[in-house]
Symmetry: C2
Subunit: 275 residues, 2 copies
């Protein structure tokens, strides 16, 4: 992972499709990690890059994109507004937006995370997996990848629970799951977990549906719980994850305490970004 988040996986697939389609410019709407991944992969592929971000994003997240020579466009608004603008630009310019007009390929890149989990377990599926949820794309593709690995016979069939992790300040998918349906009510995000702050998630419906049909659940945690969990992860595992990692660890802890996850059962936690 050159830019230290799982977004390198999705962009790796998207950039190859962009070149196949003949795009000379790669672009994205981003809360930070995706911007860095697009900037880095575009540089390596010799493409021009434009990254569109909310204007109040932390400087530290942005340094990465700037250093690769990408054009940074700050938009006054939150992620959902940035994303809407990008959809309009994609309709007017011959640019490859990894999470707009290349989204189908981009999402498939997520599956490599699931492949690696299965590989690291010795070609076996885990009975439960906790996944941080923003657009809902990662968790639905993990489910898809596990089913495909089973179909082609690389792993034994096993029923696996998909567990969604969100911050209380932006939890439209967790809310839907708790209500027991797949209808997403958009939210205005307010949380330190900026990389998960998507109030109107593109794949929200599919994420809630797949979580429920897997027999899994979703939970949300407060900002103080996120910080405490980041510290726990660093001090016990030597892993300095970003806030999204704190969300994942805190949700797992909460569900263990509530008796909704079984401590005797193997549970995989997806840590998708570096501090």
């Amino acid at each position: 992972c050159p830019t230290l988040s799982f977004k390198d996986r999705v962009v790796a697939v998207a950039v190859n499709k962009a070149m196949e389609f003949g795009f000379r410019t790669l672009a994205c709407a981003s809360t930070g990690n995706l911007a860095n991944a697009v900037a880095a992969h575009a540089a390596a592929a010799g493409l021009e890059a434009y990254v569109f971000i909310p204007d109040d994003l932390e400087e530290a997240k942005i340094l990465g994109s700037a250093v690769y020579g990408a054009k940074l466009v700050r938009i006054r608004g939150n992620y959902d507004q940035v994303n809407r603008l990008c959809t309009q630009i994609a309709a007017e310019h011959p640019w490859g937006f990894v999470n707009v007009n290349l989204r189908a390929f981009y999402s498939e890149g997520s599956k490599t995370l699931a492949y690696e989990v299965a590989e690291q377990l010795g070609w076996r599926l885990p009975p439960a997996i906790v996944v941080p949820v923003a657009s809902g794309s990662l968790i639905t593709r993990i489910g898809k990848a596990f089913r495909e690995l089973t179909e082609i016979g690389l792993v034994e069939p096993l029923s696996f629970k998909l567990i969604g992790a969100q911050a209380t300040g932006c939890s439209p998918i967790a809310m839907a799951v708790k209500r027991g349906n797949s209808e997403i009510e958009p939210q205005k995000p307010s949380t330190i977990a900026r990389s998960l702050a998507i109030g109107n998630p593109a794949d929200g419906y599919y994420a809630a549906r797949d979580i429920l049909s897997s027999g899994g659940t979703a939970e949300d945690v407060s900002d103080p719980e996120i910080i405490e969990a980041m510290r726990l992860l660093a001090e016990t595992e030597g892993i300095f994850g970003e806030t999204a990692a704190g969300v994942t660890v805190a949700v797992a802890r909460k569900l263990f305490r509530q008796g909704k996850l079984n401590p005797e059962e193997e549970t995989v936690l997806c840590i998708t970004g570096n501090g």
Copy 2:
């Protein structure tokens, strides 16, 4: 690499030996990257950690160690003085200093970088490899690893040139190589490449000797050349390396321009730390 530099390789070996020896505390003298690696691996292994650093090190480098719960000890002095102090503490306390009393094992961990280079080339040695040089440990162990891979028959014999890369502001090994001998004259470091700023390198003699006997060379580059090379690496390869990466790329560029490296010949550049 959990802490984003090649120091994770050396500490991975040292921490296992520390536990085998029964040490409950892991420690090091560091210019930054090693401190983070020791702090993270100690946390994961359940050991206490003390990291000793020069007191003028950048805050950004230190954050990593602090988050893992290690005790940070800032010493008024440069790396060579910090290292001397650690040698004294190691004689008095039952602590495993990865780069003092565990140094023999620690250094062996470097060899995994060479194994990976050979593996990525399809189990083949490169005719030339450019390596950033601080203590001189990495470049000598790369030579050792290449010779061992050849001996056990995993790669075909090939004569390979070891190329040492240093910053002009701290270049005792490059100076020795340019004079054509292995005698190190200690220097007082002054360069932005902090992770390479060792004025009196522990393995300097061996590094100069191995470089010369491989038919390789060493070169040094100025701070402006380092910054320019960091930018070049980011904008063309999508890799945001730290200053040591800039040293490596700038030295390779200088040697190509001087005709001392052949652009037709495959040359591997070791990028050992993340920006």
